[in-house]
């Protein structure tokens, strides 16, 4: 009773709050210093920028069945098909307008040939609306180059580069640590 009264008089709750915030000031900050110093390497399961897979001979897997274009809830994918010399159906145009894409992953799930896939890319901000429209050539380049599962889900030290090739953040491989 007396204790409660004294706590009220000396504003104990407020003092406790002050003590807590004071202690927090000396904790290690949890911020990831992207893009200046660090970069996140996503997991394999990450639904990032799409890419088109190729088989062992370097031939496009896609057979332009248009299932992905049909199932896409946002109408992201445009496909025009043609028949190549071997008599296989192939896409002459395969465009994804990623402005509309919600990365739901339905196109990847429905693909019978495992041709369209989610990659690890998440840095596709651009200065032009056309930058987000992915043509077949661009989709082929998007295949993630990180295959080591040990390195996935980590924060890698990186550096921010701005030159004539554009703006990008590149890993410098100096340091790497697990986020959790």
């Amino acid at each position: 009773m007396l204790k409660d009264f004294l706590k009220t008089v000396f504003l104990w709750d407020l003092v406790q709050g002050m003590r807590l915030t004071f202690r927090y000031q000396f904790k290690k900050v949890v911020t990831m210093h992207y893009p200046d110093k660090e970069k996140w390497v996503p997991y394999d399961r990450f639904r990032g920028l799409h890419y088109q897979a190729v088989d062992e001979e370097g031939e496009l897997k896609c057979v332009a069945c248009e299932l992905c274009a049909r199932i896409c809830p946002a109408g992201v994918i445009t496909i025009e098909a043609y028949e190549d010399d071997k008599g296989v159906r192939r896409p002459s145009v395969y465009e994804m307008d990623l402005h509309r894409c919600a990365y739901c992953g339905l196109c990847v799930e429905v693909c019978p040939e495992d041709a369209i896939n989610h990659g690890a890319g998440y840095e596709f901000a651009g200065f032009d609306r056309a930058d987000a429209v992915m043509s077949l050539e661009k989709l082929l380049k998007n295949k993630p180059n990180e295959t080591d599962p040990e390195k996935m889900g980590t924060v890698a030290s990186a550096r921010f580069i701005r030159d004539k090739d554009g703006i990008r953040v590149e890993e410098d491989g100096k340091k790497r640590y697990r986020w959790w």
Binding site: L14, Y24, Q25, V29
Partner: protein, 331 residues
């Protein structure tokens, strides 16, 4: 040249310029400091990208605000709208004239120092009220009215707190008040056997006068947009922000002078350190207290604020004055 250096007027003008330069210059590093403290309390680094650990961030922000368009809303009272930010800022610059930074570094050693500071400090509220009214906006007007009500309530409490200190020093002169606290931290007015209650009242009222959290109801982002400066943009908005920081600094400096012994050293063997260092350290500590509380406590509701002011602080202040009077009569 020698004649110039010898003349009083030159020194008065020079010191005044210095005071203005300090007040205009300090808010820049302090915004950085505040954002850093905010960041670290929330376990993030705060500004990091402009310069070393973001030290140049305030300059970038200032430049941005400076280059922004100065919008005056239609239906606004143009003259008052333009004048209000200056009305808010100038009193806090004027306060610094009376605050002694050491036994020699002051602009004016006024006979009525404390009264002057309280009187002039109260004027900045006109900037806020007039800014709120001249904007011709409901939110801004409500912010201005809240500021006025808050001001009336807490100026009284602050006055009572300061009366206790004046009674201890038996003088309105700031230098006399500092000298009365000489001889180690046990003689400071913050000690329980001196004016601890007055210090508590002064700080609560100070938070209210500077419109800082937990008493920033004139601004009240949650319910009033941005309160009195909702309609302000660019440089005029920056002046309001500057006024807030100037208020924080001057109230911190005032608290340091009135309660923390001003430029006197806390323990005897540190007397060789120049007084201005102690003054700056004490003021910085008070500023830190302002920032620390800002990111700890939530905002008070309007009625809670009024209850605290009228039903708690003012009676406490009167009691403090009476008790101090009893003790002062003795010697």
């Amino acid at each position: 040249m020698e004649a110039l250096l010898a003349s009083d007027i030159f020194w008065v003008v020079f010191k005044s310029f210095l005071a203005v330069a300090i007040i205009f210059g300090l808010p820049l590093p302090f915004t950085w400091l505040e954002r850093k403290i905010a960041g670290h309390i929330q376990v993030r680094p705060g500004p990091m990208r402009v310069g070393f650990h973001g030290v140049l961030q305030p300059i970038a922000d200032g430049l941005k605000l400076f280059l922004k368009e100065d919008i005056i809303p239609t239906g606004a009272d143009k003259f008052l709208f333009k004048a209000a930010p200056f009305m808010a800022l100038i009193p806090y610059i004027a306060i610094f004239v009376a605050i002694p930074m050491s036994d020699e570094a002051y602009v004016s050693n006024m006979d009525i120092g404390v009264l002057y500071v309280l009187a002039i400090g109260g004027l900045s509220i006109y900037g806020i009220i007039m800014g709120g009214w001249a904007s011709n906006s409901k939110y801004a007007l409500l912010g201005g009215l809240r500021a006025a009500a808050q001001m009336i309530s807490y100026e009284v409490a602050m006055g009572f707190a300061v009366i206790g200190v004046i009674m201890m020093a038996q003088s309105l002169n700031m230098q006399d008040i500092v000298l009365a606290q000489q001889g180690g931290f046990l003689n400071w007015n913050i000690m329980p056997h001196k004016q601890l209650i007055a210090f508590f009242i002064f700080m609560v009222a100070g938070f209210a006068e500077a419109n800082r959290i937990p008493f920033d109801i004139p601004e009240g982002e949650g319910e009033l947009g941005a309160g009195f400066h909702t309609e302000y943009s660019g440089m005029r908005f920056a002046l309001f922000a500057l006024a807030e920081y100037a208020a924080m600094i001057s109230i911190s400096a005032l608290a340091a002078v009135l309660f923390l012994g001003g430029w006197t050293s806390p323990v005897g063997f540190l007397d060789f350190v120049p007084g201005i260092v102690w003054f700056v350290l004490k003021t910085l500590f008070m500023v830190y207290l302002f920032m620390w509380t800002r990111f700890t406590w939530p905002r008070y509701r309007y009625d809670q604020l009024m209850t605290l002011g009228w039903k708690f602080l003012i009676p406490l202040g009167v009691a403090n004055v009476l008790i101090t009077g009893l003790f002062v009569i003795d010697f």
